[in-house]
Amino acid sequence: MSSEQTAHKPPVPLLDLMGVFFRVGITSFGGSTAAWLYRELVERRGWLDEDHFLTALTLAQVLPGANPVNLSIYVGSQLRGGIGGAAAALGMIGPPFCIILGLGYLYREFGSSPTVHAMLGGLAAVGVGMTLSIGLKLARKVRKVVPVLIALTLFVTVGVLHWPMIPMVIVLTPLSILLERFWGAKAAR
């Protein structure tokens, strides 16, 4: 399971692996995690080359799960197998988990204050803006008619009409992949 890059290097110590993701987990959030990880993994430590990092990033984005956690599992399991993936993911989730519970505690204590509520209202609006900007970035890759229709169908049924998400995703995801496999690639050529 070790990649070509690790073959000629001594294995990365598990604690180092966990430490890198621990630090990134504390200092970054939202869309900036990938940039921090790039600096740590590619530029500073040379654990991955650039192409490998981009593959990792793409997989982390398209698969289910939070992108930073997926990235940590990818990198950890590439460098040290399953246990490496678990260590990296734990390092990535641990600090933010503690911080968010701290914030949750403050919310319980001060959440009834109108000023706090107003600030959270503003931050929720910022959060939606972050979500939309990620959606726009992804949407640039969706250019053909059928994929656009699939994205629109999901938005309208789940977002506007409040249909249950699970059956919609279970039907549309395999359909989308099969269309790309047997029809999309040929049409693009």
Partner: protein
């Protein structure tokens, strides 16, 4: 009583974990529906508050599951919800990474990449709409969302700066 609540947390979050294509944004719509409309664990505005906290905190936005779990069943609820939201997807990722490197020339690789993108896009926009609805947003918040989306898409302004400025402006508007 508490065991039932923990079990329900797993039943709500573990399936969502497997469906969170493109990250936590994709499942916000369904999470809001389950937590507010189906289980009545939180009110719409409470959900919007927790969403705001999860976006303002470092770490992935899916950690909103920890906050919901904590509200529902205390610290144990936070741990259980967090494990339920990360473990299923992590196994999928681990399996996919192994498969990905074992099948370098498979035409399915490109199809998977391209086929999952429109699913993620549709769900991300649905999630944005769900939070706007849950928060009962006013005009100022809509304007903030539009401004932030534009800033993040077309400028290099840091998100920390945007969040600090927004919190300050909203606090001042409230106090005045």
């Amino acid at each position: 009583m508490n065991e039932t609540r923990l079990l329900t947390l797993i039943l709500v979050f573990a399936p969502l974990s497997l469906l969170s294509f493109g990250g936590g944004q994709a499942i916000v719509a369904d999470m809001q529906h389950q937590v507010v409309d189906v289980r009545h664990w939180l009110s719409g505005p409470q959900f919007a508050d927790l969403f705001a906290l999860s976006r303002a905190a470092p770490g992935p936005s899916t950690l909103i599951a920890a906050l919901i779990g904590w509200q529902v069943a205390g610290f144990g609820g936070a741990v259980v919800a967090t494990l339920a939201i990360y473990i299923p997807s992590s196994f999928v990722v681990y399996g996919a990474v192994r498969w990905w490197h074992a099948s370098k020339d498979s035409p399915w690789r490109g199809a998977l990449e391209r086929g999952l993108t429109p699913v993620a896009v549709g769900l991300v926009f649905a999630g944005a709409l769900a939070v706007l609805e849950a928060a009962h947003v006013n005009g100022l918040q809509l304007a903030t969302t539009a401004l932030v989306t534009g800033l993040l898409a077309f400028s290099r302004v840091g998100i920390y700066a945007i969040m600090a400025a927004t919190a300050l402006v909203y606090a001042l508007l409230q106090l005045l």
